[in-house]
C-alpha cells in the first residue's frame, strides 16, 4: 500500500474488509482489492509562506462530517489578524469609513508583518527551528524554510505520522517562539496593546475623528472587542493555556501607555509622512475644541478665543499635527492637547485663581438684565452636579464590569479542573443573586454618543444648555479690540524636569493650586478619562509654548515674569530634553 499517500489510513474496506488503500489521480482513496472508492481524500496542508505570495494555501480535510474537535494549525499572527479584523469591523459598524479598514489598516498590518519578519520576507523570523508541537514530544519536526519550495511529499510524509493526532492538537504552532525572551525584547512581536495601537495609527492616517481617548472609551464600553477578544476566533483555531498568556488581558491600557505603544510602533514601522491634518479635520484642535466646549457646556463664544490661543501657542499649524519623519516625529495627542488649550483659555478669561472668576461672576450677575450673560458660578453649579452624577455612574460601571471569559483558557490540565470548579461556583452565586435582585450582572449600555454629557431641555438631559450665552461680562472693548477683562495670569514654574527622573509633580503641587483650576482639570480629565496629572503636564507644556514663543499678539496677554521666557528659550536652543511638541519655528 502506498503509505506515503494514504497517510496511514487503516480502516478496513466496507466491502472486502481488506486494508489496502491507494490514492487515485483525483486524490480519492480506493480499496486496491475491490476498487471501492470512499469519500476520503488526500489532504495536504502547506504551511509555507512562499515569498511573493501572500496567501496561505490550505486544502481542507475533505471529510463530510466535520468533527468539532478538529483543530487547525495556526500561527499567532493569524490570531492577531482575526482579532484586528473583528476590531476593525466593530469600528465600521460604529460609522468609521471602510477606507480605514481596506486601504489603511490592512496595508499597515502587512507592513508590520514584513518589518517584524513574520511574513513577506525571505527570512521569516522563525526560520531557524520550526517546531511543530504534537501531543507527544516525539513528533517534533524541524523544517527549514529558507527556500520557498519544500518537498511536498516529505511534508506530507512527516505530517502523516501526526495526522491522526491532529484532532487532539490545540494551541498555536509558534507560541514557544513568541514567548522566548529574545524575541520579546526585540519588540517586534504583537500583543493586544500593539493591536490597538495599530488601529489607532490607522485611524489617524485615515483622518477619522476618533481620538485615542474615544478609542479607549469604545474599548472600555465593550463596543470594540479587546478583553477576551480571542473568544471570537474561529472554532478551528484552538487555543491553549500558553496562547492565553498572549491573548488574554485583564486590563485596558491607559491613555499614557497606549500613546507610548503607538509611538513605539510608529518608529518600528518607519512610516512615511501621514496625510495632513488640516484645519478642517475634526482631529485638529480648531474643531476638536468645539466638540469639547459643547460637551463641557461652555458658551460657543469661547471658541474664537480658543483658536486665538492656539495661534499664539503656534499650534494652529497643520504640520504640527501631522506626523512626518522630518518635521514631526512624535505622535500628537490631539485630545489632551486640545483640552489643555481650552483650560488655558479659561485661565486667561477667568483667572481661575479662586478670586477673579467669582468677582467676574458677581459682576456678570449684577449687570445681567436679559439673562443672556454667561455666569461662571451658574455654570460651575450645573456642571459640578452633572460631573458628580457622571462620576458615580462611571464608578458603578467599573464595579459591574465582567472580565472573565465564558470559555476560559487553562494553563494546564491540572489547573483546568480547579478553574472549572471555581467558575461553576462563581456562576451559581451570580445566578442566585441575579434572580434575587432581578437584575442581570454586567453593564447595560444604552446608546453610544461622542459626548459624555447631554445639555438641553429634553428628558434625561444633564442640565440646561449654556452654549448660547454671551461672554459680555468677561470681555471688554479696549482700543476697539475685544480683550478679556481679566488681566492677570498665573502659572506654576514651567521648567521641565527630566522625563526619566520624575513624571509629574502634580501630586505635590495640587494642594496649593487654586481649587477652581483643580476642579477644571478634574472635569476635563473625566471627559477624556485620563488622570488629572497627565492633563496638568500637558497644560504646562502648552504654557511653555505660549510663553516661550515670540512677543504676544495684540498685547492682551500680560506675562508675569520675563525670566520664564528666557529660561525656556535657552532650553530650546540647547535642544535637550524630550519634547512632545517638537520645536518649530514660530509662525510669523
Amino acid at each position: 500500500m502506498d503509505d506515503e499517500h494514504t497517510a496511514g489510513y487503516r480502516e478496513p474496506c466496507t466491502q472486502c474488509a481488506a486494508v489496502d488503500w491507494g490514492v487515485s489521480d483525483e486524490g480519492r482513496f480506493y480499496c486496491r482489492s475491490c476498487h471501492n472508492v470512499i469519500e476520503r481524500t488526500r489532504e495536504v496542508v502547506d504551511l509555507t509562506f512562499t515569498p511573493g505570495s501572500s496567501r496561505i494555501t490550505t486544502i481542507s480535510r475533505g471529510r463530510r462530517t466535520k468533527r468539532p474537535e478538529q483543530g487547525r494549525l495556526w500561527m499567532i499572527c493569524e490570531g492577531f489578524q482575526f482579532i484586528l479584523r473583528n476590531q476593525a469591523n466593530a469600528l465600521l459598524k460604529l460609522g468609521v469609513r471602510p477606507h480605514f479598514k481596506d486601504e489603511v489598516l490592512w496595508p499597515l498590518w502587512r507592513l508590520y508583518l514584513q518589518r517584524s519578519g513574520q511574513a513577506y520576507t525571505n527570512n521569516p523570523v522563525r526560520s531557524c527551528v520550526f517546531k511543530m508541537r504534537g501531543p507527544d514530544s516525539d513528533s517534533v519536526m524541524s523544517a527549514s524554510e529558507t527556500d520557498g519550495e519544500t518537498n511536498p511529499s516529505s511534508t506530507v510524509g512527516s505530517n502523516a505520522e501526526s495526522s491522526s493526532d491532529w484532532s487532539l492538537r490545540s494551541g498555536s504552532v509558534d507560541v514557544t517562539t513568541y514567548l522566548t525572551a529574545r524575541l520579546r525584547r526585540g519588540r517586534g512581536l504583537m500583543n493586544m496593546k500593539k493591536c490597538l495601537a495599530l488601529i489607532h495609527l490607522a485611524l489617524i492616517w485615515s483622518c477619522e475623528p476618533l481620538t485615542l481617548s474615544d478609542l479607549l472609551r469604545l474599548v472600555n464600553e465593550g463596543h470594540i472587542p479587546y478583553v477576551n477578544a480571542y473568544e471570537e476566533l474561529p472554532d478551528e483555531m484552538k487555543l491553549d493555556g500558553r496562547d492565553g498568556l498572549i491573548f488574554r488581558v485583564e486590563s485596558i491600557p491607559s491613555h499614557r501607555v497606549m500613546h507610548r505603544e503607538a509611538q513605539t510602533l510608529l518608529l518600528f514601522l518607519q512610516l512615511p509622512a501621514f496625510p495632513p491634518i488640516s484645519r478642517q479635520s475634526l482631529l485638529h484642535p480648531a474643531l476638536l475644541s468645539l466638540r469639547y466646549l459643547t460637551d463641557a457646556n461652555l458658551p460657543d463664544e469661547l471658541h474664537p478665543w480658543v483658536c486665538q490661543l492656539m495661534e499664539l501657542a503656534g499650534m494652529a499649524d497643520e504640520t504640527l499635527h501631522t506626523l512626518d519623519a522630518a518635521s514631526c516625529r512624535v505622535l500628537p495627542r490631539y485630545d489632551v492637547q486640545t483640552a489643555a488649550i481650552i483650560v488655558i483659555t479659561m485661565k486667561l478669561m477667568f483667572g481661575l485663581d479662586d478670586h477673579t472668576e467669582w468677582d467676574l461672576s458677581n459682576e456678570a450677575g449684577d449687570h445681567d438684565d436679559s439673562g443672556n450673560m454667561f455666569n461662571l458660578r451658574r455654570w460651575y453649579r450645573l456642571t459640578q452636579a452633572a460631573l458628580t452624577r457622571a462620576q458615580q455612574r462611571r464608578a458603578r460601571d467599573i464595579a459591574r464590569k465582567q472580565w472573565k471569559a465564558k470559555k476560559p483558557l487553562y494553563p494546564s490540565r491540572l489547573e483546568k479542573a480547579v478553574m472549572m470548579k471555581k467558575k461553576r461556583t462563581a456562576e451559581l452565586v451570580q445566578a442566585c443573586f441575579e434572580k434575587l435582585s432581578s437584575c442581570p450582572a454586567g453593564v447595560q449600555r444604552s446608546n453610544m454618543s461622542s459626548f459624555r454629557f447631554c445639555w438641553g431641555d429634553e428628558d434625561g438631559a444633564d442640565g440646561p444648555s449654556l452654549h448660547h450665552k454671551k461672554l459680555d461680562g468677561v470681555v471688554t472693548l479696549k482700543k476697539k479690540v475685544l480683550s478679556p477683562s481679566n488681566s492677570m495670569y498665573w502659572h506654576p514654574a514651567l521648567t521641565r524636569c527630566h522625563p526619566r527622573v520624575c513624571r509629574s509633580h502634580y501630586s505635590e503641587v495640587e494642594a496649593i493650586l487654586p481649587r477652581s483650576f483643580v476642579w477644571l482639570l478634574e472635569l476635563f480629565s473625566f471627559l477624556l478619562d485620563v488622570k488629572p496629572a497627565y492633563l496638568y503636564e500637558e497644560v504646562l507644556r502648552v504654557e511653555r509654548r505660549v510663553f516661550g514663543s515670540k512677543a504676544p499678539r495684540d498685547g492682551h496677554t500680560r506675562r508675569p515674569e520675563t525670566r520664564t521666557k528666557t529660561s525656556t528659550s535657552a532650553r530650546r536652543r540647547t535642544g535637550n530634553g524630550r519634547n512632545d511638541v517638537k520645536n518649530l519655528p514660530p509662525k510669523s
Binding site: 493586544m192 488581558v249 485583564e250 464595579a399 471555581k422 443573586f433 434575587l436 454586567g442
Partner: protein, 412 residues
C-alpha cells in the same frame, strides 16, 4: 499581557506602567496608622479586573452599611467573578468574604428564599476545605432556625469532628424537648411517642458521653444532658457527669462547671456542707461571682468557729470588685456579718486583719465624698448602711463619707 508579565517576568526596560500618582514622588512617608481595610486599598499595579472588583466591594459595603439590600444584591451578582481570580494568594479570603456577605444579604433582602440559602451554603461549602465545617454548622443553624430540624441534622450527619457531633446531639436534645413538651400536654400519653423520645435521648446521650470525655468547654451540652438525665431520674450518672466536668484536671478551669454542680446539688437538697464545699471551689475561681452572696449566707448561718471570719473574707472580696459597689444586699450582708462578729471578743482583730491589705485603696473605692453625694441622691438606704460601717472598717482614717449636703455644687 499582565499574565504574561507575571509568568515570564517583566522585561528589563519596560517603563513604569501607569501607576498611580503616589508612586511618582519618591521618598513619600508611609503612614504609621494601621490599614482599616486591606482589601479595598489600591495596589500600584492593579489590573482592570482587580480595580473593578475592588470598587465593586466598596459599593457592596456602602450599600450594606446603608441597608440598601437590593443594591447590594445587584452588586453581589457582579462581584462573584472574583472567585475566578487566578492570582494565588487571596483565594481563601475571597471565598470567606463571599460566603459571609452573601448570607448577610440573604438575611436582609425581602425576597430571599430558603433555596437561595441552600444554594449558597452548598456551593461555598464545597469550594474549599478550610471553611467546610464552619459553613456546615452555619447552614445547620439556619435550617434549625427555620424549623427544618431534620435537614439540619442531615447537614451534620457525616461529620466526624467533635464539635459537629456535639451539635448533632444538641439537635437530638431539641427534638427530645419538643416531644417531651407535646407529650406532657396530652392527656393520653402515647407509648409510641414515649419510645421515640427515649430513642432520641439514647442517641443524644451516647454522643454526649463521647464528647464529654474530651477536655473542653461544653457548657450548653452539659446542661442539656443533665436535664435529660434528671428527667429520667438518673441521678448517679448526672452527679458523676457534673463532678467530672468540674473536677477533671484535664479540663480547662471552668467556673460554670461548679455553678452547675452547685445548682444541681441545691435542687436535690444536698447537705449544707456539700454546698459550701462547692461554693468554696467557686470562690477560688471567681471571687466576684453572685453566688458568693449565697455562700456568705451559708457561712453566716453555720455554727462552726472559723466560718464567720471566712464569711467576712468572702464579702469583702466581693466588694473589692467595682460591680458590687452599689449593691445593697452585699453591704447588708456585710453589716450582718459584722454584727455577728461583734459577739466574739476578738472581732476588732479579725476585722483589722481582713482590712489590713485594703486600707490603702478601699476608702478611694467606696468612701469618698463623691460617693457620698451619689449615694445620698440615688440610694439613701445604701448610704445609711455604708455610713454605719465606715468607723468599723477603717477606724483610724478620716473619711469624707458623710451625709452633709454639698453646697454651691463644688466638690470638696
Amino acid at each position: 499581557m499582565d499574565e504574561l508579565e507575571r509568568e515570564l517576568g517583566p522585561l528589563e526596560d519596560v517603563e513604569d506602567d501607569d501607576s498611580s500618582d503616589n508612586n511618582s514622588t519618591k521618598g513619600r512617608k508611609k503612614s504609621n496608622l494601621p490599614l482599616v481595610n486591606p482589601l479595598c486599598v489600591e495596589t500600584p499595579k492593579e489590573t482592570g479586573f482587580h480595580q473593578s472588583t475592588r470598587i465593586c466591594l466598596e459599593q457592596i459595603r456602602e450599600a450594606m452599611l446603608h441597608h440598601r439590600w437590593q443594591e447590594a444584591a445587584e452588586y453581589m451578582a457582579c462581584y462573584s467573578q472574583i472567585l475566578e481570580d487566578s492570582s494565588r494568594n487571596t483565594e481563601q479570603q475571597y471565598k470567606e468574604l463571599i460566603w459571609r456577605i452573601s448570607t448577610e444579604i440573604l438575611h436582609n433582602h425581602p425576597n430571599s428564599k430558603l433555596e437561595d440559602y441552600n444554594i449558597i451554603y452548598e456551593r461555598m461549602k464545597h469550594s474549599g476545605f478550610r471553611h467546610y465545617l464552619m459553613i456546615s454548622l452555619e447552614h445547620a443553624f439556619h435550617l434549625l432556625l427555620h424549623g427544618h430540624i431534620e435537614d439540619a441534622k442531615r447537614q451534620l450527619s457525616n461529620q466526624k469532628t467533635k464539635l459537629i457531633q456535639a451539635y448533632r446531639s444538641l439537635l437530638d436534645y431539641i427534638i427530645w424537648c419538643d416531644k417531651k413538651f407535646t407529650h406532657s400536654n396530652t392527656d393520653y400519653p402515647d407509648s409510641g411517642d414515649n419510645q421515640e423520645m427515649h430513642n432520641y435521648f439514647r442517641q443524644a446521650s451516647v454522643n454526649l458521653k463521647e464528647i464529654l470525655k474530651n477536655p473542653g468547654v461544653w457548657d450548653p451540652f452539659i446542661l442539656c444532658y443533665v436535664e435529660m438525665l434528671e428527667f429520667y431520674e438518673d441521678h448517679e450518672v448526672a452527679l458523676k457527669v457534673l463532678n467530672d466536668y468540674a473536677y477533671d484536671d484535664s479540663f480547662p478551669p471552668n467556673p460554670n462547671a461548679h455553678v452547675y454542680l452547685y445548682q444541681y446539688l441545691k435542687r436535690h437538697d444536698a447537705s449544707e456542707r456539700k454546698l459550701m464545699q462547692e461554693l468554696k471551689n467557686l470562690h477560688v475561681l471567681v471571687p466576684s461571682h453572685e453566688l458568693m452572696l449565697e455562700y456568705s449566707s451559708l457561712l453566716l448561718q453555720s455554727d462552726k468557729k472559723g466560718d464567720i471570719q471566712k464569711a467576712l473574707g468572702v464579702v469583702l472580696e466581693m466588694l473589692d470588685f467595682a460591680c458590687w459597689r452599689i449593691n445593697l444586699d452585699v453591704w447588708k450582708r456585710l453589716k450582718a456579718i459584722i454584727q455577728k462578729l461583734h459577739l466574739q471578743e476578738d472581732w476588732k482583730d479579725v476585722v483589722s486583719g481582713e482590712m489590713a491589705g485594703r486600707k490603702d485603696w478601699w476608702p478611694a473605692l467606696h468612701f469618698t465624698s463623691f460617693h457620698a453625694c451619689k449615694d445620698s441622691e440615688e440610694n439613701p438606704e445604701l448610704m445609711e448602711v455604708k455610713a454605719s460601717l465606715t468607723k468599723i472598717l477603717c477606724p483610724d482614717l478620716m473619711l469624707k463619707y458623710t451625709a452633709e449636703r454639698v453646697t454651691s455644687g463644688t466638690w470638696t
